[in-house]
């Protein structure tokens, strides 16, 4: 493929034409975060170019800059060698840049053809009366040519997610997009659908368009891309030819970083198992199987981390253990006893504490007082109630104790929980969960969105809990955090445990490979 593009790229005079897209020294700050740090990126005409990186590596920010959604703090964008500046997404659309988002921008009650023409302010979408027939014919033509099987007259809500994605791509083709960006397009597809998509993308590239494919799945990147640009921590690390790269080398580029803060080994000996999962299956929110036969053990006083790219079943795993999500198969045992699935109260009674990912929506009742939120699970205990009656004064006193002990700032027992900052809100959740004297603590992304100080506090509490003999199941997408805290690390990929390692044997490259769906290298 490289040879072909090489000849195509040469103009009549033999000089190489400028790349279709060139981004130079792109810098983008958000409050507290440097999302893009002098990123350089270029993609040629007629190539599929993958943008590879972990969550938070800066892929989305970069693509949002290219589509005119964000303005870079500094840096320049060139299209076919000419400087451009976008003041709105429409400017980017006008020069032929189109993005297929992870969450589709479709009107469910409209037909495919209506969705395709919606917002197209240059041609058909501008007229008062739609010439539906003509649009449908054009859509059918395009879908035939690029292998995007979809009925132009079908209302979008009838379509599967895979078909809806085709509609998004048809929108791009209809508007004659020269540069198509797809943000993790395979997340909603079955493997077979993904294969079809890859064929389409290659055809579009062969047609002289540029396809930018955002992903963190190595084998896909290897399968579809001509070249790969790897982003890590907001910087562009390398651009390599996909043909020359191996899964291992890509994984190393994606996550390979120096691990500075490995902590000294502890002398603690893990005790008996407190949490055992045996071949657990559970459905995700869409009704598909999100956990597929996961088995793992957490022992007393041990921190087991679940690594993985978001959306591989980790959140569902945490919810299954906490009783928030029923297991369709398999058993979950706490301290040797099987708990009833899908019943949070049984899990709480068995000694499971849970720090949910979505702390404001699930972890607290935002309008209720901090005292009430600290008693959210303990209100049935002797501390907070006496038979059916609440002991309101005792609840307030206990809240004041916990606020002082956990140094929750800006909190009076009677003020509403939603007035707290993210870090202090997380402290409320942690204070409540720890004070329930749990056997097992499930912490799902407990430091997401917190500042450095709060992150350290949360880490300290997790270690303290393990030291007290609690079995901690930590779910995190941050490998540094995992390597700092975990005694053992399991990697989840597509709902199953892809591999397991201890902290001392942990090989970042191997973890990265497992996270991205590469085979377990020890197997061969």
């Amino acid at each position: 493929m490289a040879a072909r593009t090489e000849t195509d790229r040469r103009g009549a005079d033999g000089a190489p034409p400028p790349p279709a897209v060139e981004m130079r020294g792109i810098v983008k700050h958000f409050p507290g975060v440097l999302a893009n740090d002098h990123v350089d990126f270029e993609a040629a005409v007629g190539e599929v170019h993958a943008l590879l990186g972990e969550n938070g590596a800066g892929k989305s920010t970069l693509s949002n800059i290219l589509t005119g959604l964000y303005r870079p703090d500094s840096g320049e964008i060139l299209l076919d060698g000419e400087h451009v500046q976008f003041s709105s997404p429409r400017d980017a659309l006008d020069v032929g840049i189109f993005m297929v988002h992870q969450h589709f921008r479709l009107v469910e009650t409209f037909t495919v053809a209506e969705n395709v023409v919606l917002g197209d302010h240059r041609g058909e979408g501008r007229t008062f009366r739609l010439r539906t027939r003509a649009i449908e014919r054009r859509v059918a033509e395009l879908s035939k040519r690029f292998g995007l099987a979809v009925d132009p007259r079908a209302p979008v809500w009838h379509l599967s997610l895979g078909e809806q994605q085709r509609v998004e791509i048809l929108k791009a083709l209809y508007r004659e997009a020269r540069i198509l960006i797809l943000d993790e397009p395979t997340a909603v597809l079955t493997p077979q659908e993904a294969e079809v998509l890859f064929t389409t993308l290659r055809e579009m590239a062969a047609d002289g368009r540029t396809v930018i494919f955002i992903s963190h799945k190595l084998h896909e990147v290897k399968a579809v891309a001509d070249r790969v640009t790897v982003l890590r921590g907001g910087r562009s690390i390398a651009t390599v030819d996909a043909a020359d790269a191996t899964l291992r080398s890509l994984a190393a580029l994606m996550v390979g970083r120096e691990i500075e803060s490995r902590r000294a080994a502890r002398d603690r000996v893990a005790g008996e198992p407190v949490l055992e999962l045996a071949n657990v299956w559970a459905d995700g929110d869409r009704g598909d199987a999100a956990i597929r036969g996961a088995s793992l053990i957490v022992r007393r006083g041990e921190i087991v981390a679940v690594a993985g790219v978001a959306g591989n079943g980790q959140r569902e795993l945490a919810e299954a253990v906490a009783g928030m999500r029923p297991a369709t198969r398999g058993t979950i045992r706490i301290a040797g006893k099987t708990v009833r699935g899908g019943d949070p109260r049984s899990a709480i009674a068995a000694g499971v504490a849970y720090v949910p990912e979505d702390r404001l929506g699930t972890g607290v009742a935002p309008s209720l007082s901090i005292a009430s939120n600290l008693a959210l699970k303990g209100y049935r205990d002797r501390h907070a109630s006496h038979g059916p009656l609440l002991r309101l004064r005792r609840m307030r006193e206990r809240a004041a104790e916990l606020i002082a002990h956990y140094r929750i700032a800006g909190a009076a027992p009677s003020s509403a929980a939603r007035l707290l900052s993210g870090g202090n809100l997380q402290k409320v959740v942690l204070a409540r969960e720890f004070s329930g004297k749990p056997r097992v603590l499930v912490a799902a992304s407990p430091t997401r969105g917190l500042d450095v100080g709060a992150i350290e506090t949360v880490h300290a509490y997790l270690r303290e809990a393990a030291a007290d003999g609690v079995g901690v199941l930590l779910i995190s997408e941050d490998l540094d955090e995992i390597l700092m805290l975990a005694d053992r690390i399991v990697v989840m990929y597509e709902g199953a445990i892809a591999g397991e390692t201890t902290r001392d044997d942990a090989d970042v490259e191997e973890i990265g490979l497992l996270m991205a769906g590469g085979r377990d290298p020890r197997a061969d």
Binding site: A322, G323, M324, D343, P344, R345, A347, I348, A349, Y354, P356, D358, G361, T362, G363, V364, A365, P366, S367, L368, S372, A375, L376, K377, Y379, R380, S385, P388, L389, L390, L392, S415, L419
Partner: protein, 366 residues
């Protein structure tokens, strides 16, 4: 002028704003009165007299206020958990039907007065609760929108009541006497089933006050109330906390329906002494819907519901008494509307603050 959200709501506002709203409402209503050619102050005086001072006025006001207290409590009990039971109307009818049956049967079989009344209260509770549990079950198990189902059941309950008065086989229908075969009416209760009153204060009014205290206690001092609060604020957090959501929905709907049902029992026992004197009399009062207004004005506080029910009852009573060529009955409706409008508008002032003046320069702009 800009409107911004208040981060904290000072306590004095919770008193000042409703009081201010009321003053504003009287002022605005005064303008309406003036525009329709009335002397505003004199009209207010008339209303006050007709509601409280004229002979028999206070009793009439209590008659109006009692059912409103029940339906207001029914709405407040459910709305506090963000369970929008709009069906107090139908639940009141069903409570009247069951309580009337109990009164007719037990009173007719020579049971002692106190037992008959107690049985009527229990029967009213049961009838109202059963009717409320229909939308409750649908909501808890099938996630049906309870606003729609409870509202629709109001019409069903109204037709059931009409049917029970019209059907010649009906236990509730008067079958003996001169007019019985020509004009369908319901049977009159035996004396043992007539509820006593303390002077002009009906027994139902006392029960309503008792119910208000119980509901207030239930919601602020018990585990049940705590769970309802959490569930009302965040269903996901409630599930996370191990609260049995379905049971709670069923229980709150049953409580709400039971309170409305006692309202129906009180209608029968305290006032009409039959299922309904005029086949459509009870249906024309719209107690269930007015109860929602009462609950909203009371900010779903059960103790405040009793006070608001008394005031709204007084206003309605005055409207009924004064209506005539000189004072169209619509005027009282207009006043009620203005009061509700300014009370709900006042809510905004509790939650938001209005700032007049130039926008402060932001650090970036400076």
């Amino acid at each position: 002028m800009r409107i911004e959200r208040r981060l904290r709501q000072p306590r004095w506002l919770l008193v000042a704003v409703p009081a201010g709203s009321l003053v504003f409402a009287f002022f605005a209503s005064g303008l309406v009165l003036l525009a329709t050619g009335h002397d505003a102050l004199r009209s207010y005086r008339q209303i006050f007299d007709a509601a409280f001072l004229n002979s028999g006025a206070l009793g009439q006001t209590l008659t109006q206020a009692t059912p409103l207290a029940f339906t207001g409590l029914a709405a407040a009990a459910a709305f506090r958990m963000r369970l929008f039971n709009i069906g107090a109307e139908g639940q009141l009818f069903m409570g009247a039907v069951t309580a009337d049956a109990a009164g007719l049967y037990l009173g007719g079989h020579g049971w002692p007065h106190a037992l008959v009344i107690a049985a009527m209260v229990v029967a009213g509770c049961a009838g109202g609760a059963a009717w409320a549990l229909i939308p409750g079950v649908l909501r808890a198990f099938f996630k049906t929108n309870e606003i729609i189902t409870s509202l629709m059941l109001n019409y069903v309950a109204a037709y059931v009541m009409t049917y029970l008065i019209f059907n010649t086989e009906s236990y509730w229908r008067q079958t003996t006497g001169f007019n019985a075969s020509v004009f369908p009416t319901s049977k009159t209760l035996p004396n043992a089933a007539w509820w006593p009153a303390a002077n002009i204060f009906p027994l139902g009014g006392g029960i309503a006050i008792l119910a208000a205290v119980l509901i207030w206690f239930l919601y602020t001092r018990t585990r049940f109330g705590f769970e309802a609060q959490v569930l009302g604020d965040s269903p996901r957090a409630a599930r996370y906390a191990g609260i049995r959501t379905r049971r709670k929905i069923l229980a709150v709907m049953a409580i709400s329906g039971a309170v409305a049902g006692v309202g129906g029992a009180s209608q029968v026992g305290d006032f009409s002494h039959q299922l309904d004197a005029d086949p459509n009399g009870l249906q024309k009062q719209y107690y269930g819907y007015t109860g929602i207004v009462v609950a909203a004005l009371a900010r779903y506080n059960p103790l405040a519901v009793v006070v608001v029910a008394f005031l709204i009852g007084a206003l309605q009573n005055a409207g009924n008494t004064l209506q005539g060529a000189d004072f169209p009955s619509g005027l009282v409706g207009v006043m009620q509307g203005i009061i509700l409008f300014s009370a709900l508008g006042g809510e905004l002032l509790v939650r938001y603050r209005v700032r007049v003046g130039r926008a402060l320069p932001t650090p970036e702009a400076a």
